[in-house]
């Protein structure tokens, strides 16, 4: 029997029983589109995080106080035993002098109230340096960002977010005005462009002050975090070593900082999201296995519906292998058509998601698409074997009589 004829026979059988075929197609399509949709969520989240990270630039190191190898255990243990020394402004200035290090951006976040002519509002404060602007691509609406000051400079100047400017100054230009921030008076030198959540803060709700000023205002010894740019991609490793060495020297031989590079952070995220995506794929694959049992059921019905036909084919000289082949082809064709329908529906749903949340690049990974189709077709074949064998094992005399 020719392949073409076998496919045509299977196809005519599929068309002949439209309700049965449609039910099966829908079951398989649900399974396949579920795999696509769920994996696109995981993959979309991964892509979102990766792109956010990559927008930071390529040779970035993140330094935080305390030794923190994997999770929070090291930090907690360190805190309990009291061995963590603060990561001071002087530490940061020492790091700045390393030949491998280009810029040091220090952070100290906090909260305070801002007051201008009796109008008061609670806002976020972040003590930082002029390099933060470039790091996160911030735009300035009016005036300028923090100038290039020494890290320990405590000048009382600030840059305010868009929402703060609108609510406190309304239509007036805030640049050059003096405001109270907690107990201190500062002069506004700039207003940020509207940006929402960008980088580590909600720009619109934040007041940016020099990190030295913030240390004094919040009465802190230790910085919250530093983001350090190496001079080049090649300098990443020596810069990392230099940071550890310098801090160790300054902290009486204790290596009580954590240095993370972008790559290791990205790898961690990628691993986490890959596990998440695989888990989602696995959950969706269960629906494919369920569809497989439906294939078996429907094919068994097909065998009993077509008992006489099977008897006839046997009488006309159809071999056992031919009858098995015919039914397996039918099962495979049904599951392949179902898989294609599922791909179509799944991709349509994903495009819809992208329209609703344009910020996330939802996309089912290639491996999930291939795995979904392969699994649908192979479950069709595997679950089709039993019914096909049952058809081939029918006694021709009894089959011709319809039982």
């Amino acid at each position: 029997m020719r392949l073409f004829d076998r496919n045509r026979m299977a196809f005519t059988a599929i068309v002949r029983y439209p309700l049965r075929s449609a039910m099966l197609l829908v079951a398989i399509a649900i399974g396949v589109s579920a795999v696509l949709l769920l994996t696109s969520l995981g993959e979309g989240a991964r892509r979102y995080v990766t792109s956010e990270f990559n927008s930071l630039g390529s040779h970035l190191l993140i330094v935080s106080p305390g030794k923190n190898e994997v999770g929070g255990i090291g930090r907690i243990a360190g805190a309990l035993s009291g061995t963590i020394r603060p990561l001071t402004l002087q530490d940061a200035m020492a790091l700045e002098r390393s030949p491998y290090i280009d810029t040091v951006t220090a952070f100290l976040p906090g909260g305070a109230s801002i007051n201008y002519e009796g109008v008061e509002r609670n806002i976020e404060v972040i003590g930082t340096t002029h390099t933060m602007r470039r790091l996160f691509d911030y735009e300035i609406a009016v005036g300028r960002f923090l100038p290039d000051l020494d890290l320990d400079n405590t000048s009382p100047i600030c840059v305010i977010g868009d929402t703060i400017a609108k609510e406190i100054f309304r239509t007036r230009n805030p640049v050059g005005e003096w405001v109270r921030l907690g107990e201190r008076r500062l002069r506004i030198i700039g207003v940020m462009a509207q940006a929402g959540q960008s980088g580590p803060v909600d720009v619109d709700e934040t007041v940016f002050v020099p990190v030295g000023f913030a240390m004094q205002m919040f009465n802190r010894e230790s910085l919250h975090r530093m983001m350090i740019e190496a001079v080049s991609a090649e300098a990443m490793a020596p810069a990392e070593a230099a940071i550890v060495r310098i801090i160790k020297t300054r902290h009486a031989g204790r290596e009580d900082v954590t240095v993370q590079n972008q790559g290791s952070i990205l790898n961690t995220f990628n691993t986490v999201f890959l596990v998440l995506t695989s888990t989602l794929a696995g959950i969706a694959a269960i629906s494919l296995a369920v569809a497989g049992t439906l294939i078996m059921n429907v094919m068994l019905v097909a065998v009993s519906q077509r008992t006489e036909e099977i008897g006839l084919i046997k009488a006309l000289g159809g071999k056992r292998s031919q009858i098995i082949g015919m039914f397996l082809t039918e099962a495979a064709m049904l599951s392949l058509l179902g898989a294609l329908l599922g791909l179509f529906v799944g991709q349509a749903a994903i495009s819809l998601l992208r329209k609703i949340y344009p910020i996330v690049d939802f996309q089912a990974p290639d491996w999930a698409i291939i795995a979904a189709v392969v699994m649908a077709v192979s479950s069709g074949l595997i679950f089709g074997i039993m019914p096909a064998r049952r058809a081939a094992d029918l006694d021709p005399v009894e089959a011709l009589q319809g039982h």
Partner: protein
């Protein structure tokens, strides 16, 4: 062509053993027109199934075209059916979703013949059975007599040596029944060995060799008006070795 030697076929029904065929010996020559008659339960269907290689005898030997086919595997049986035997059934057994032409093509599809070749042959057979203007009709668009003619076209498309017709007119009115019978007898006149199962004595009488089944036993009678050169009675026939 066909030689049955001490064929027995037993069925187990519960604890009982039913002897559907008891020591059947019979020769059917090539080109013969034979009828099998008998009441229901007499074993005539079982005999037809054995002759058609759809069923295998419990004991005895069945020689078909000089070959012992009593102990073939399922696939060998299928191949032999395909090459040697054509079937016409009382209930036609056409595949409803295929056209008349496609139904006739089916045996050649199973045999793996080239599409162009089998189309020509299928058309030829449909012309032969007078259905040239019904080729693209589906079975449900055809009358009973037309359906049976499609089935006959299908049965001869592989050029079998033996045609087994099981009550071919049983589901037809007398007019279409006569048409079908004429076609079958024409095929016989062209040299095909025709074996007709019927309960209608009038039909059975038209055959040259009349086989009568009764309680699993066979008796044969030759029509004195037979045109064909006959070898005489049953006992004489058994003496022949398998003739092809």
């Amino acid at each position: 062509m066909i030689e049955l030697k001490s064929i027995c076929r037993d069925f187990h029904v519960g604890d009982e053993v039913v002897h559907a065929l008891k020591d059947v010996n019979q020769i059917i020559e090539a080109g013969e027109y034979a009828s099998i008659m008998g009441p229901s339960g007499s074993g005539k269907s079982t005999l037809l199934n054995v002759l058609g290689l759809l069923d295998t005898p419990t004991a005895g030997e069945y020689w078909l075209k000089g070959r012992n086919v009593s102990h073939l595997s399922d696939d060998e049986l299928a191949a032999t059916r395909q090459a040697v035997i054509g079937f016409v059934f009382q209930s036609f057994h056409l595949i409803p979703r295929l056209t008349a032409l496609e139904n006739v093509e089916l045996p050649m599809v199973l045999a793996g013949l080239r599409p162009s070749k089998r189309r020509d042959r299928a058309v030829e057979m449909l012309v032969k059975t007078g259905l040239e203007d019904r080729m693209s009709h589906r079975p449900d668009q055809l009358s009973g007599g037309q359906r049976q003619r499609v089935a006959i076209a299908r049965s001869i498309v592989m050029r079998p040596a033996v045609l087994l017709a099981d009550e071919p007119t049983g589901n037809l009115d007398s007019h279409s029944g006569n048409e079908v019978l004429e076609i079958l007898e024409d095929l016989h006149n062209d040299g095909l060995t025709l074996i007709l199962v019927t309960h209608d004595p009038g039909l059975g009488a038209r055959a040259h060799l009349r086989l009568r089944m009764m309680d699993g036993e066979i008796s044969a009678e030759r029509n004195p008006n037979a045109k064909r050169n006959s070898t005489g009675g049953v006992e004489e026939q058994v003496d022949h070795s398998a003739t092809v």
